[in-house]
């Protein structure tokens, strides 16, 4: 859902606009051509925006006895690794999938498409995992 569409729906939910007004606004959004909308999205120099995007995946583990592990993985490595899976020979891929299934991970890497990988990487940028154990151990995974 686009940001504009969500804003209109929020305004409707908040009672700021009527259902008719929301419908008209949504229609206006639908009729707006992508060509007309695109220039406003990329006005000016995009470099600061690109620099603000997370580039690393952090995995931080604090053990119960004070031991710490901090791994900074470039997201480019995750992307390259996932894209590599689409080129693995079918026979090898079958074996990998079988081994993964035996280990309890039911991911079929042969179904990965390049566009899915880009989507997955984009989703990773917003992901944050926090795990707190019973004995004080902590695991944090986030993109920065």
């Amino acid at each position: 859902m686009s940001e504009d569409r969500a804003r209109i729906l929020n305004m409707l939910a908040g009672g700021k606009i009527t259902a008719d007004e929301a419908e008209r606004l949504l229609d206006a959004l639908d009729t707006r051509t992508p060509e007309a909308a695109a220039p406003s999205a990329f006005k000016g120099d995009p470099t600061p925006l690109l620099n603000a995007l997370p580039k690393f995946l952090h995995v931080k583990v604090d053990g119960e006895e004070g031991e710490k592990v901090d791994v900074k993985i470039p997201l480019a490595l995750v992307r390259s690794g996932l894209k590599l899976t689409s080129l693995i020979p079918p026979q090898a891929m079958e074996q990998i999938n079988r081994q993964m299934a035996d280990s309890g991970v039911s991911i079929d890497f042969s179904n990965f498409k390049p566009e899915d990988i880009d989507e997955l990487i984009d989703a990773l940028r917003e992901m944050e995992v926090n795990v707190d154990g019973k004995n004080g151990e902590k695991v944090r995974v986030y993109a920065e």
């Binding site: 053990g63 894209k83 079918p90």
Partner: protein
């Protein structure tokens, strides 16, 4: 995209002095370059043979280049391990 040129390794213990190493990975790549060129030529020939034979999978050269891509993407990876017995820092630059 260039592969990592340096590997910085630092190991320290609480009770004795540690050490740090700067490993010049670019020298390793230089040494491996002739072998890589040879492997690329072989994979191109294999792919050509597979195309002629009509095999559905004939992407070994591309697979090899993707492997180089993964290697190059390792640049920037950092690992820190701290415990009561040992501290280890590994950094690909």
């Amino acid at each position: 995209m260039l592969p990592p040129m340096l590997l910085r390794l630092r190991i320290a213990w609480p009770e004795r002095p540690g050490f740090g190493l700067w490993l010049p990975l670019f020298l390793v790549w230089l040494i491996l370059l002739p072998i890589v060129v040879l492997v690329v030529v072989v994979t191109i020939l294999v792919d050509l043979a597979l195309v002629i034979a009509g095999t559905r999978y004939h992407h070994y050269t591309l697979l090899l280049f993707r492997c180089f891509g993964v290697l190059a993407a390792v640049r920037g990876m950092v690992v820190h391990i701290r415990s009561s017995e040992i501290d280890v820092d590994i950094c690909f630059a």
